[in-house]
Structures are given as structure tokens and as C-alpha cells.
């Protein structure tokens, strides 16, 4: 009784987070094991018979192996966008934090505007068409970078403020040119916040549904999130295949989380100055 009184809030928290996070996941997994008939009931029931393998084969081979194309597209999109995001955001954050110029106010306003103002789809498509980038993967890469940049810049700038300026100056005296200062001294020290950026942005880009839908039409251009439409329509949905698809495309972000959660990123700047 005493135990209950002491830990009821903890128990409740665990229970709530279990309901919120684990039950939907369990639902996805169980649906992936069901056949079409049982899945159509959309209930939380134990699967009758193991149909996982059949479902997987069907999902992967649907529409001429579209899921594989989608995985390749999504991987290219995610890797390219996140790499460029990290480099550009770190550079902007560095310059913005270190060099006080009269532009800074304007740049900060634009960053904030990028966070707050909702993206306008039609003008963006018009612009992409003008540049000949509409419906091209690299066009979408640029769109993802533009949407992700403000948030990443804010993260970087705050972190760069904690790196003593003496380090830049020591490097300059040592003969470093601006690019050396950034790539050899500052960027390695940004590792903790770079990891945060990689995790947050790659999950966001990989899981992005609307932007590929707007800016990357065509079967050859499908990204993983768009393959969900293969099994869903107004009158006819194959829920077992839909959830198998969901389970498959959830695996990469899951791996990213598991991998980077293990990274110990603290203490990189320890010893830079007297500590």
C-alpha cells in the first residue's frame, strides 16, 4: 500500500507512455501478420495464422517492385538532404554567431520567417518548374534543405556560442584560412549537435509524406511514404498489406535512433579552456 502511494505517479506515467507508444506499434505488427479478411475488421485481435511472409512478398513486389525503388529514392533523398543541411546550417550558424554584421538582423528575421510562415506549395512548384527541377529528386532535396534549414541553424548557433572564440583565433594565428577554421576546428567540436541534427532531420525527411507528394510526382519517383497509397483507396483497402508496408518503412528510422542513442557525445569541449 505504501509502495503504491509512493510510486503511483511513476506507474501511471509508465502506463500512459506504454499505451501511447507501444500499443500502436503492437497493432501494426499484429496487422502485418493477418490475412486480408481478418485485417479488414480493424480490431485489436491476435492474428489467425501467420501470413507475414506472404504479405511482405506482396508488398515488395507490388507495382513492379515499387517499394525497392522507393527505398532507393528515399535513401538518396535523406542522405543528400541531411548532409547538405548539416554543412550549410553549421556554416550559417558559425558565421552568424561569430561575425557581427549589419545583415544579422535581416538573416535572423528570415530564419524566424522560415520557421513560422507556412510553405506556399503552388509558387514553389512554379519556381521549381522554372528552374527545371520539378519532379526531379535533386529538386526535392533542395526543398527539404530549405524547410529544414531554419531549425538546424538555430540549434547550431546556440551550440557555437559555447565554443570559445580563442580557439578560432588560435587557429588563425596557426595559419588557418576561414575554411580550415571551420572544417578542422569548429565542425569536429560540433559533433554532439550534429548528431542531434542528423537524427531529427533524417527522420523528418525520411518520413516526409506531403513534400514528395507535391513536388515529386510519378511512379518512378515514389518515396517510401508514398507507397502507402498503393494499398489504400476510397472503396478498397488492404489493411494487412498497408500495415506490413508501414512496418517495413519504419525499420530505417528505428535503426537510426537505436544507433545514435548509443553514441556518447558529452564532454567533447572539455579541456578547451581551463575547466
Amino acid at each position: 500500500m505504501k509502495l503504491l502511494r509512493r510510486y503511483w505517479l511513476t506507474a501511471l506515467a509508465i502506463l500512459v507512455s506504454g499505451v501511447v507508444f507501444l500499443i500502436p506499434f503492437a497493432f501494426i505488427i499484429m496487422m502485418a501478420f493477418k490475412d486480408r479478411k481478418q485485417a479488414a475488421l480493424l480490431d485489436f485481435s491476435w492474428p489467425q495464422g501467420l501470413h507475414l511472409w506472404d504479405n511482405v512478398v506482396e508488398v515488395v513486389t507490388t507495382r513492379n517492385w515499387m517499394l525497392l525503388t522507393a527505398f532507393i529514392n528515399s535513401s538518396i533523398l535523406t542522405v543528400a538532404s541531411v548532409t547538405l543541411l548539416v554543412v550549410f546550417a553549421a556554416m550559417v550558424g558559425f558565421v552568424l554567431q561569430r561575425r557581427k554584421a549589419k545583415w544579422n538582423g535581416l538573416v535572423e528575421f528570415l530564419i524566424l520567417a522560415g520557421l513560422m510562415i507556412p510553405p506556399a506549395i503552388v509558387p514553389t512548384i512554379w519556381l521549381l518548374q522554372g528552374l527545371g527541377l520539378f519532379g526531379k529528386l535533386h529538386g526535392l532535396v533542395l526543398v527539404e534543405i530549405a524547410y529544414g534549414l531554419p531549425f538546424s541553424i538555430l540549434l547550431y548557433r546556440a551550440f557555437i556560442a559555447t565554443i570559445p572564440r580563442d580557439l578560432d583565433e588560435a587557429a588563425i594565428i596557426d595559419g588557418a584560412r576561414p575554411f580550415d577554421v571551420f572544417f578542422r576546428v569548429i565542425l569536429p567540436l560540433l559533433w554532439p549537435v550534429t548528431v542531434t541534427n542528423i537524427v531529427v532531420q533524417s527522420v523528418a525527411v525520411f518520413n516526409d509524406f506531403t513534400n514528395p507528394l507535391y513536388y515529386l510526382p510519378g511512379n518512378q519517383n515514389a518515396t517510401v511514404q508514398l507507397t502507402l497509397y498503393n494499398f489504400q483507396s476510397q472503396f478498397n483497402s488492404s489493411y494487412n498489406l498497408l500495415f506490413t508496408n508501414i512496418a517495413l518503412i519504419t525499420i530505417p528510422p528505428l535503426i537510426v535512433f537505436l544507433f545514435f542513442n548509443r553514441q556518447i557525445v558529452a564532454g567533447m569541449t572539455a579541456g578547451a579552456v581551463k575547466g
Binding site: P164, G175, A176, V185, P188, M268, K274
Partner: protein, 361 residues
């Protein structure tokens, strides 16, 4: 072989002048120390020489090159920072070799130079460590090693010892002096610690408010301060000052007196003086001694007995407080009256503008 020449150097931040026209010449191999209170511009001046701050106007010559617009890496300088500024993600070996790597020095050559520097500083066993695994003194050594491998014409030190504890500071001070002897390079050193200034310098530059107050050998500054500021800043404990008026002038000798001092006759530059002028008299705490026929009387307010000497805080009739350092041990009680003689040869007089009236030597 490089000296240094500063000609009418100015620096302003917006409208605020920080360095107000500094002229200075440093010859090759000299150890020059910039001292001054916080905010006097000594670090700014050093950073202007390093190229980390732009020069608003004036000329900076390093060797026989005008360096106003030369990049820091091409000035032939190396700098040691107060915070050490070691690159935390690199080992000591890479820290020391970073400049060489950037200069694309050949690998064997680089290795030799790094190991040479490590040997000079006795830190060969530290080469594989990261800065976070080093103590303060070791980090300082690495920072100096990073400067040495560049083989600069001029070393710049920005308060390099102020982050170390007192005992280590004394050790490092001696090592720096030894390093200067061994390398024979020009060194410019910024500090607010006047013991460092007095012990290390060939030449001290006293700065205040962005203006050079006096340049000279440490002992000259101590014995013949150019003005009130230098007199008060150099020497520890501080010089005692008193308002006095001129009683009589006799050739190169002037007799002054005040409420506290009955009469002292001092050698001075008397050209512009006349009887009745108000001057400031300065005398160091060490130049006062107990004397029953002395010209100064005061009440003891505080006594510090150090064994070899006794520091006495003295309350004068006018209400001013003077500090007296007496040789040997004296058992003085608070409120006791003390009669002191002033060593007239060591007294310095200052005119109303604060300039010293020392007789020409």
C-alpha cells in the same frame, strides 16, 4: 631577426577610442611587457600586433615589413592565449603540429619539429594525450609548444600565467625567462601582475586609458616614475602620496611641507617652481624608517608582522592612511604613535598635472 616598430597606432570601436596613439620600438630579442590596469588597452594592442584586431590608423612594422594589412599567418608571429585555446578534439601531438600541417610541411620534418618542441618543454610523455587529460600547467606547456614550432620572429603572450595557481605561476615564470634566453626571440607579454612584469621584462610599457605612460627598464620605472600613475602602479605595496606645498627653493633643492610632514628637502627639477606651489609628494613604504627626530608622525592602525619585515598601516593627522614597511620585526600596538623619517633621496615630487619633477641625471 626582427624588431617591432609601432607608429601612432590608433584603434577605435565605433566612436570609442581604445588605443590613442601608441609609439613604441622593440629591438630584436627584447622581452617587452605591457602592464596596466584592466581595460587599459594592453590586450587590444597585443591583438593588433597579432592581426586579430584591425588597426584603425598608424603603422605596424614587424622586421622591415609594414604589417597593417598582412594576414596573421604571414606576420611571423605566434601567440599564447590566457585560456590556452587548445583544440580539444586533437591530441597534444596534433595540437602542436596543427600549424605545420596547415603549412603543408613534409611529414618527417613535421614530426622532427614537434618532437624538438616537446623536448624543449619536457612534455614528450604527453604527446598522445588529449587536452582534457592535462593539468593547467601542462596545457600551458602545450600552448607554448604550439607557438615554438612555428619558429616565429615574435612571440606574443596574452596573460599566459593568470589561470595557474600561485606556485605553478612562479615555476612557469622562470621557465619563460629560460625559454627567452634559449630561443633569443623577441617576446611581447601582456600581464596585470607587476611581479611578472618586473622579473621578466627587459623593457616595461605602462599603459593607461589607451596611452603609453612610460617605457623603460623595470628598475628605472620603479626609481624614476614619469608620472603619478606609473608611480602608483609600479611597486608593491603602493607608493604613498601626500599633498604638499613648496616652502623654499635653493638651487636644485626644494623644501616642501604639509600638515603631516614638517619639512623635507628634496632634489628636483625646480625650474618652473615657485614658493607656495602645491605639489604631490610620493614616497615608497620601504623608504620610511623609525626615527625619533623624524618629520612624520602618525598613529598605528594595523600591523602585519611577517618576521623579516613589518607592514604598518599608519593614520596621519590629516586623516590620510600611509603604509610603512619596516625592516625586521617590531612589536607595535594599535593606536601607538610612531615617528618616522623620510628618505629624502628616494622621494619623488609631482607637479599639479601629475608629471614627475625628477632632476635630470
Amino acid at each position: 631577426m626582427a624588431g617591432l616598430e609601432l607608429k601612432a597606432l590608433h584603434k577605435t570601436y565605433g566612436q570609442v577610442p581604445v588605443i590613442k596613439g601608441v609609439d613604441l620600438s622593440v629591438s630584436h630579442g627584447e622581452f617587452v611587457v605591457f602592464v596596466g590596469p584592466s581595460g587599459c588597452g594592453k590586450s587590444t594592442l597585443l591583438r593588433m600586433i597579432a592581426g586579430l584586431e584591425d588597426i584603425t590608423s598608424g603603422e605596424l612594422w614587424i622586421g622591415d615589413r609594414l604589417c597593417n594589412a598582412v594576414e596573421p599567418r604571414d606576420r611571423g608571429i605566434a601567440m599564447v592565449f590566457q585560456s590556452y585555446a587548445l583544440y580539444p578534439h586533437m591530441t597534444v601531438y596534433d595540437n602542436v603540429g596543427f600549424g605545420l600541417k596547415l603549412a603543408r610541411t613534409d611529414k618527417a620534418e613535421r614530426d622532427r619539429k614537434i618532437r624538438d618542441a616537446a623536448r624543449i618543454l619536457q612534455m614528450e610523455h604527453l604527446l598522445d594525450r588529449k587536452p582534457s587529460q592535462l593539468s593547467g600547467g601542462q596545457r600551458q606547456r602545450v600552448a607554448i609548444g604550439r607557438a615554438i614550432v612555428r619558429q616565429p620572429e615574435v612571440f606574443l603572450f596574452d596573460e599566459p600565467l593568470s589561470n595557474l595557481d600561485a606556485a605553478l605561476r612562479v615555476d612557469m615564470r622562470m621557465e619563460l625567462a629560460k625559454l627567452h634566453q634559449d630561443l633569443g626571440s623577441t617576446m611581447i607579454y601582456v600581464t596585470h601582475d607587476q611581479v611578472e612584469a618586473m622579473t621578466l621584462a627587459d623593457k616595461i610599457v605602462v599603459l593607461n586609458g589607451g596611452v603609453v605612460q612610460q617605457v623603460g627598464a623595470p628598475i628605472d620605472l620603479y626609481q624614476r616614475p614619469a608620472n603619478l600613475f606609473v608611480a602608483g602602479f609600479i611597486g608593491s605595496p603602493k607608493m604613498n602620496f601626500a599633498e604638499v606645498s613648496v616652502q623654499s627653493i635653493n638651487g636644485g633643492m626644494v623644501t616642501v611641507a604639509s600638515k603631516d610632514i614638517s619639512a623635507v628637502t628634496v632634489a628636483a627639477d625646480t625650474k618652473s617652481l615657485k614658493v607656495g606651489d602645491r605639489l604631490t609628494l610620493g614616497v615608497r613604504p620601504h623608504h620610511l624608517s623609525m626615527d625619533a627626530s623624524g618629520t612624520l608622525v602618525g598613529g598605528v592602525s594595523l600591523v602585519e608582522r611577517l618576521g623579516n619585515e613589518t607592514n604598518v598601516s599608519l593614520r596621519l593627522p590629516s586623516g590620510a592612511t600611509w603604509l610603512v614597511v619596516l625592516d625586521g620585526d617590531h612589536n607595535l600596538r594599535p593606536a601607538q604613535a610612531l615617528q618616522l623619517a623620510i628618505d629624502a633621496e628616494k622621494v619623488v615630487l609631482f607637479d599639479a598635472a601629475g608629471q614627475s619633477l625628477l632632476a635630470a641625471m
